[in-house]
């Protein structure tokens, strides 16, 4: 490196320069001016939000030689020593590489010595969550009652890993992610002072990429400035980061609102062909949908990435879409942006998010006499994560029940069971993945007392579930869901019993005793029924009645 990285060069040197953490700065300044300096602070917050910076400012301010109101002055010898990283009384410890109890013991031995030149010795312990348990415990006593000349600042990105006994001994400050406009404003200042030519759009793109971390934004700017020959343009930033044009994003959402699959998929494909990163694009669509929701709900908030010329189009889109559809789409695209599914086809999750966002109205509005067997396939085949099932889409069990309304048994239990089934599969999934796959191949047939009868097509599957461990897992999860302790019995389904055999409720009778179908009228009618046709074609069933 020829030159210091931007984020080090532009580290704030006064409290006024710290961006986006007013609540912290205000409190600290007040404490300083009233002389109520605590002996231990905990700074918690995401990366690049100013924890180390504030810790150093604090070290300067408590030791500065200038009158209290001007601290830190950045002129006195102490301030300059801190700025140049050579003040002996500011001790920065990287807890990630000094995790052990011995490191803490060493610290404890030294903390007793008086400061070299400053008023206070300031210990900044970075990444403090990496300390081992015994190291934390060794620190407790010192943290509670340090010598009067010592101040501890613990900084961490993962406050939940800090023992409560440590937290209660510190004054805790939570650092927030920086808002987008704060980052943009700061970048603009840096660019101006560094005499870098950059488009505002380019800076906004960088700031969005940084997701609230100033350091990320500054290192990205660094990287891109050396990439671009002259003026840093938005196009260059987009090319490196794989960001799509806002025009393309807008077109996808327009297609979504209109329900135009061809148009939307084509735009997505063109963007990907041009080198846009599908995950980035999904994030951008989420941002756009969010802006759309904000406009639609008349919140008066317009995110800074919405340009003037985009606003009228947003308003038009807002007028022709329903919030429910939008919320649903946000969920789906968000999943495409964050899901860690296989990367065989990087753009596929994005395309599927779009397709799924489109599909629900089509299914609802589709021709109603669709055979139940076809409808059934959706819940079975879509990914089992609960968020995958849109709120606006009728939940799967409703469809099933609708199909069976004619001959539903009177009692509550089997109906509840059918309703629970997708939920049951989801609950089983984290516990035993292959068991969940297995349970997809069976159907709850009946409830006999506290025994749930499960029907399987193949003996191999039935045998698997009957294994002691699997059986226990199924019973546990099912009992939890139903709210009463149940047992399961696995049976092979009879040939004639087709897939959608509805649940029947028997008090003591055997499951196969009563045929669940309404009274048949003619063979022809049977043959028309898709379920029976399936049974005949695939399983070799015969109509004998």
């Amino acid at each position: 490196m020829t030159e210091q990285a931007l984020y080090r060069k532009w580290r704030p040197r006064t409290f006024d320069e710290v961006v986006g953490q007013e609540h912290v700065i205000h409190t600290l300044r007040h404490a300083l001016s009233s002389g109520r300096i605590h002996h231990a602070y905990l700074f918690a917050g995401p990366r690049g939000t100013g924890k180390t910076t504030t810790a150093r400012l604090l070290a300067k301010a408590v030791n500065c030689l200038a009158p209290e109101a001007e601290r830190p002055c950045n002129r006195c010898s102490i301030c300059q020593a801190v700025n140049e990283g050579r003040l002996l009384d500011l001790i920065e410890i990287d807890a990630a590489s000094n995790t052990g109890v011995d490191d803490v013991r060493e610290l404890r031995e030294r903390v007793g010595f008086r400061p070299n030149e400053a008023r206070y010795k300031v210990y900044v312990i970075d990444e403090v969550h990496m300390l081992s348990t015994s190291a934390f415990n060794a620190l407790l006593k010192t943290l509670e009652e340090p010598p009067p000349h010592a101040i501890f600042v613990l900084a961490t990105t993962e406050a939940h890993k800090i023992p409560a006994t440590v937290i209660s001994r510190c004054q805790r400050f939570n650092f927030r992610r920086l808002p987008l406009d704060a980052i943009v404003a700061r970048l603009e200042r840096i660019v101006e002072q560094e005499h870098i030519q950059a488009e505002r759009e380019a800076l906004i793109a960088i700031a969005r990429q940084a997701t609230g971390s100033m350091r990320d934004a500054e290192s990205l700017l660094d990287q891109l400035v050396s990439y671009s020959a002259g003026r840093l343009t938005a196009a260059e930033v987009h090319a490196v980061l794989g960001i799509g044009s806002s025009e393309a994003v807008c077109q996808v959402v327009e297609a979504l609102v209109r329900g135009d699959a061809a148009q939307g998929l084509s735009v997505i494909n063109t963007a990907v062909e041009e080198g846009v990163d599908p995950r980035q694009f999904a994030c951008q669509i989420v941002d756009h949908l969010r802006a759309l929701l904000l406009v639609q709900l008349k919140s008066g908030i317009i995110p800074p990435y919405v340009t003037e010329e985009m606003l009228p189009r947003l308003e038009k889109q807002a007028a022709s879409s329903s919030p429910r559809v939008l919320v649903q789409a946000v969920k789906l695209f968000n999943r495409a942006a964050t899901d860690a599914k296989s990367s065989w086809q990087p753009q596929l999750p994005l395309e599927m998010a779009f397709v799924e966002a489109l599909l629900p109205p089509e299914i609802e509005a589709g021709p109603t006499p669709q055979p139940a067997s076809q409808r059934q396939t959706r819940p079975v085949s879509s990914p089992p994560s609960p968020s995958a099932h849109p709120a606006s889409r009728p939940p799967a069990p409703a469809v099933v029940r609708e199909a069976e309304a004619g001959y539903r048994a009177s009692s509550v239990a089997p109906e509840r069971l059918q309703e629970c089934w997708p939920e049951f599969l989801n609950a089983l999934r984290p516990r035993n993945l292959s068991l969940e796959a297995l349970m997809r191949s069976c159907r709850p047939l009946a409830v006999e007392g506290d025994v749930v009868v499960l029907g399987f097509d193949y003996d191999f599957h039935r045998g698997k579930v009957e294994e002691e461990r699997n059986k226990r897992d199924v019973e546990d999860v099912l009992s939890n869901l139903l709210g009463w302790r149940c047992r399961i019995r696995c049976v092979l389904r009879q040939k004639g019993q087709a897939e959608q055999t509805p649940i029947t409720h028997h008090q003591p009778q055997p499951a196969q005793a009563e045929p669940p179908t309404p009274t048949p009228s003619s063979d022809q009618e049977h043959a028309d029924d898709p379920l029976i046709r399936t049974a005949i074609e695939d399983l070799g069933a015969q109509i004998i009645g």
């Binding site: 020829t2 990366r47 990630a96 660094d222 990287q223 050396s226 990439y227 020959a229 196009a235 260059e236 987009h238 090319a239 490196v240 794989g242 699959a261 061809a262 939307g264 998929l265 084509s266 494909n269 063109t270 990907v272 062909e273 041009e274 080198g275 846009v276 860690a340 599914k341 296989s342 990367s343 065989w344 086809q345 990087p346 753009q347 596929l348 395309e351 599927m352 397709v355 799924e356 599909l359 089509e362 589709g366 076809q374 396939t377 959706r378 079975v380 085949s381 879509s382 990914p383 089992p384 993945l433 292959s434 796959a437 297995l438 191949s441 193949y458 698997k464 074609e537 695939d538 399983l539």
Partner: protein, 337 residues
């Protein structure tokens, strides 16, 4: 907006197909002497991560000044023959195996010694997503503060598969699949394929030049694909019993299962695209009439549901679910005539 255009055509592209912006970024890092000590190259298999890493390494190790390996000096000749003593390539034993902590330790020992030939040492860690947690953690310190002469290049399918602490210590360069046109042109220009075949391979490659070049050299790849597609076609008309037999056979070999599912995913995505009327980016262009037939028969919603079913099955297999069960469930979800 054509991104390859906007990145500008530098005089020399290191002989790399596409990814002009990345090449330029790395070249400028060398010319402005702002080389980062650690880079992370991500992208799907065959997209060109290793090719880019080797080219970057050659440029870094070249004894001449400048961002372009001269190709004449001793360092360049050694790099070209993959024999440069200051270039280390570390990877797991085979795809799917672990990258072990011992390998990282060994690398650290070697990096601690000053370069043999020139000013730098370059370490390429291939498929770093296969590194065990302890191996990845062991590398953290080296990633943050490697010896001044060392440059570390991590290669992985996706950044999210690595520890966030690893990713945040690297300059992340995410290589995206290339436009089919770029690949077709490269195949023709390098005399690897006749225009007609280049066109087909470019589409089948899904934007991954590495795959296309492999397919040129390994004729079996295309035959295998044709066979799998024929089987898929006959499965659609087959009764459940035949499908389950197929699943059973498929489940015996995880590599075959993966390969088959990948192909099915492409196929049903194409069917879905045709059904939706978005035909610009089809993969299986050579079997368009069959795609069309499937699209007409099953429609948009049905083919989309099938894509999801295949995706879900692939996801389960990756998480070590029972292969036979997973594939049987998938068989029941496949559409039929």
């Amino acid at each position: 907006m054509d991104m390859s255009e906007s990145a500008g055509l530098d005089s020399h592209a290191w002989g790399i197909v596409g990814h002009k912006w990345a090449v330029r970024l790395l070249q400028r890092a060398i010319t402005t002497q702002s080389i980062s000590h650690a880079y992370l190259f991500t992208g799907p298999a065959g997209v060109g991560k290793m090719t880019l890493a080797l080219a970057f390494a050659a440029a870094l190790l070249c004894q001449e000044e400048g961002a372009i390996p001269c190709g004449r000096c001793r360092a360049c000749r050694l790099s070209a023959a993959a024999h440069h003593p200051d270039l280390y390539v570390v990877e797991s034993e085979h795809v799917g195996a672990d990258l072990k902590i011992e390998q990282i330790r060994e690398l650290q020992r070697q990096l601690a010694v000053s370069p043999v030939e020139g000013r730098r040492k370059v370490a390429i860690l291939n498929r770093f997503e296969e590194a065990t947690a302890s191996a990845a953690n062991a590398l953290l310190k080296t990633l943050e503060e490697p010896p001044a002469y060392a440059v570390i290049l991590l290669l992985a399918a996706e950044g999210r598969l690595l520890l966030p602490t690893v990713v945040s210590r690297c300059q992340h360069i995410n290589l995206r699949p290339l436009p089919a046109d770029v690949i077709r042109q490269a195949l023709v220009e390098r005399g690897l394929a006749e225009p007609e075949q280049a066109e087909l391979l470019a589409h089948l490659s899904g934007g991954r030049p590495g795959w296309a070049i492999r397919a040129v050299k390994d004729k079996g790849l295309l035959q295998r694909r044709a066979q799998l597609l024929d089987e898929l076609h006959s499965l659609i008309g087959a009764p459940v019993s035949a499908r389950l037999r197929y699943a059973e056979a498929m489940a015996r070999d995880p590599v075959v299962a993966r390969e088959t599912l990948e192909l099915w995913l492409c196929w049903w995505r194409d069917v879905m695209m045709v059904a939706a009327g978005a035909e610009a980016s089809l993969t299986n262009v050579d079997r368009y009439s069959l795609l069309r037939a499937h699209a007409d028969r099953f429609g948009f919603a049905r083919s989309a549901a099938t894509v999801e079913a295949v995706l879900a099955a692939a996801d389960r297999l990756e998480r070590n679910a029972n292969p036979r069960l997973t594939l049987e469930v998938l068989m029941l979800d496949l559409p039929r005539q």
